[in-house]
Every structure is written in structure tokens, then in C-alpha cells.
Symmetry: C2
Subunit: 255 residues, 2 copies
């Protein structure tokens, strides 16, 4: 289904579920909406930390239309579910944010690993996605935004596929790019990869001797940092309910 | 010479010439300094137009130290020559901007084709760099910043080298990335490639039948757009007098 058709169904509130499996091949994006007062620092934070926070598109203040990714989309209605935060506290989980919209809001669409997994699979890379973890890697701060990088862990089967995974992810800096770490999870402060903060797949069997642990920057990072910064008002997508863009993942690759 | 040593010589005002040929292999950066009031729109403009305006580093408001590229550098003293603009008018060309510095200034370091030419040459790509031109390609606007893209033209010798030039430049999105146009200059509004607005090399002999014209986004674009926007106060590097970073061009490549 073309992204526009899918978004129209969502806009009419006929679908409110997750977007993980929809519009195969099209790039998904994470959403973070904050007041313009905080937008420079947040954009700078993302620019300084492109692995967890690749900037795909930013709206003009007050505009709900992402000019680069899908100018006809309306970010107030075209995601199936949102989260509203006040002073860092989750206060609502609506399926439409028209009533929450303000003229000073700026929407950030950030790269999402959901698209990246399709790219790996399209190349028959064999791997197991486990989950997400907060590391001891300090992000470069910007203004009030600072915090540790969140990463995802994938166990890649064999050296050949591990090399392919690095090549393929390097072609996609807009979907977190190459891994930020390979090998020993302890080096980046992860004590137990079987105890992620967010599980993507379970149950997990133990790492095989020929599986290589690789860690990529995760799009949870910028939202976690913005919540931690207690921005007075913020809207995000509800986890798993990402925005579907008009661009194929391959249209965003660098080579 | 390591970049830090070169910058120290510049800082002591013992060198005020261009930086085109210095610190071979190290990435150079264009400089644009504007008040914080305009910084979000300008950063957004650069994010929306990464081919002419790749963002390498942005300082915290009031700080002259670029955290990612050279944290020990001081952008007030470490470039050989600057330009001061008031309301879009050039008013001074000092070799030091300490007296002009203000607590609300934000410095942008943007990718520069000077580094990219070394990368092409290191791969023995045969070409002639001609000059820079304003095209009919509209940049994506952001706030008060809007205008046409400026490009550079290179004549690449033969199809093999032309393909190599696209591969190599694609590896370097921080130095303008791949060409924005190939072939007929008229398509992007250039009437005569032998009449650039800025000449890099003369005299120029006519294009040979086996030479392919390629056009890359040019770092003149963001400065031209900021001048056009009549930002009340702005500082840039003087043309040819770019900042020398601590990073090799290859450290900024994506693959």
C-alpha cells in the first residue's frame, strides 16, 4: 500500500495499531514535537549526535507538514497513536493531536531502525534483534539536552554477515548508520544483553559462538533526553506507532 | 604540519594568507557566525539543504570552541582572515575577531570543497575545476533564509573517472556529497560555464569531447543566503581563508 493511502486510513481513525509491518520498503520516522523555544538546542543536540538522532525532517514552527518527507501529510492526524508529556510526565495517549496543536510547535522526524531492519533483511543478513539498552556512552550535550545514548543490540551470524551489516548500515546514515560498538557489551556499560530495558523479541536463546554482538544508536535516545530535560510540553509518537514517509529507505541511502 | 600547530601560528598573527594548500589531508571548514536569535532558522536551512550546506559543527551560544572538530581551537583568532557584515553589508576584513565577539553569537562550521578536491586527487581522478555559479535551483527555505543554490563545476575526464568521482564524493556527504547535476549546464540555469561568478582556475581551455561537466553544491550558498537575509550582524571567513579542523577528510567519510 502506498504511504499516502495508509496515512489517509490513519487520518480517518480507521487504524490505530502499530506501524512496524506496514508499507514495506518505505522509511519510517520517529516523531518528537516541542515548542520553538527549545527547538534550536534540540536540533543542535540531534546534529551533534547523528548516530542515535539522525534528522530526516523538521517542520516550520506551527506547521504540521514535513516539507522533505511527505509535504501532504499532517503530523497531527497521520500517526496512529501519540504520547503527550507535560514537564516530563506522560499525561495522555491520544490517536489524534489536533486539540493539542499550537502555533509555536516544531516537529522533528528522526531516523528509525524499523526501516533499517528491512534493509538488512533484503540483503539476507542473518541476525537476531534483541532489544534496547541505556549505555554509559555520553551524548554530546546541547543546551538543556544531555544524557546517555540508548542502543539496540543485534546478534549477527558469522563474520561475513557481520561485515555486510556494517557495509549496509554505513550506506544508511539516516537510519542510524554503522554500529557504535561491536563485541563486549560491558565496554559500553551493558551488564547483560539478555536483560534489555525494551524487549523486541523473546524468548531469546543464548548467544552462539559464531554470533557477533553489534550495537547501533537507537531512536529512543532523543525522546528520552527530551523527557529527562523536562521540556514543559512535548508530543511524541507512541512506541511502535511511527510515521510512514513517502520515501523508500533506499531513497535515503548515501550510496 | 599538524592543524594545531598551524592554528597556533595563525593565532599569533604570524600568518594571514589563504589556507587552500595547508595541512594536506585535513578537512577544512567554512565559517558563518550569527546571533542566536537567527541560529535555529539557519541550522534548519542547512539541515534542509545538506548538499550546499553540510553541518560539521556548531558552537554553543557565546562559545568560540567547536566541540566536535577542534575543541581546543578558538574561532576568534584561529582563521587568518574574516569578514564582518552589518545588515548584509561588508564593513570590515580583520585578521582577528576578538573585539567583535558577543555572548549571543553562534558559529557554524560547514563542509568545504577544498577538502574534497584532495580526496579526488588522492584517487587520481582527472578533472579541471572551473568556478562557482548561482543556479536556478531553489534551496528549501527556512524562516528568513531562502535563495538559489550556488554550485561548483568540474570537467571530469572520461566516463571511468566520472563514475569514480560520483562514488568518491558520495562517501563524503560532509564535503557536499555527490553532484547535484551532471551534463547540460543550461538545465540548472548556467548559460556559460566559461563565465563563472568566481573563477578558481584560469585560463580555461574549452571543454573536450570526452570531458563530462559535473556540478556540486558549493559552500558559498549558506553565506550568500545569510547575507541576502540581511542578518543584522554576521561574521564569515574571508574567501580562501577557511578553518583547519583536527580531522582528516577520511575521518569524515561515511564508508
Amino acid at each position: 500500500m502506498p504511504p499516502r493511502n495508509f496515512r489517509n486510513i490513519v487520518r480517518r481513525s480507521e487504524y490505530t495499531g502499530p506501524t512496524v509491518g506496514v508499507c514495506r520498503g518505505y522509511a519510517k520516522a520517529n516523531l518528537a514535537i516541542i515548542p520553538k523555544e527549545y527547538a534550536f538546542d534540540f536540533l543542535l543536540f540531534c546534529n551533534r549526535n547523528p548516530r542515535p538522532c539522525p534528522v530526516l525532517d523538521v517542520t516550520d514552527p506551527g506547521s504540521p507538514h514535513p516539507p522533505l518527507l511527505a509535504p501532504e501529510a499532517d503530523l497531527r492526524t497521520d500517526l496512529p497513536k501519540y504520547r503527550i508529556y507535560k514537564d516530563g510526565e506522560l499525561v495522555a495517549e491520544p490517536t489524534d493531536i489536533t486539540d493539542y496543536w499550537r502555533d509555536d510547535l516544531v516537529a522533528f522526524l528522526l531516523g528509525c531502525a524499523g526501516s533499517f531492519d528491512w534493509v538488512l533483511q533484503a540483503s539476507n543478513v542473518r541476525y537476531r534483534l534483541i532489544g534496547a539498552y541505556t549505555t554509559n556512552i555520553q551524548c554530546y550535550p546541547a543546551g538543556r539536552f544531555h544524557g546517555h545514548m540508548v542502543v539496540t543490540c543485534r546478534l549477527i551470524k558469522g563474520a561475513h554477515d557481520a561485515v555486510r551489516a556494517i557495509q549496509i548500515s554505513s550506506r544508511h546514515p539516516m537510519m542510524h548508520g554503522p554500529p557504535v560498538h561491536i563485541g563486549d557489551p560491558g565496554v559500553i556499560g551493558i551488564n547483560d544483553i539478555y536483560q534489555p530495558e525494551v524487549f523486541f523479541h523473546r524468548p531469546i536463546s543464548l548467544q552462539e559462538p559464531d554470533e557477533i554482538a553489534m550495537f547501533w544508536g537507537c531512536g529512543i535516545t532523543p525522546q528520552a533526553v527530551a523527557i529527562e530535560a523536562k521540556v514543559p510540553f512535548m508530543i511524541t509518537h507512541c512506541p511502535g506507532h511511527m510515521f510512514i514517509t513517502d520515501l523508500l529507505s533506499e531513497e535515503l541511502s548515501v550510496m
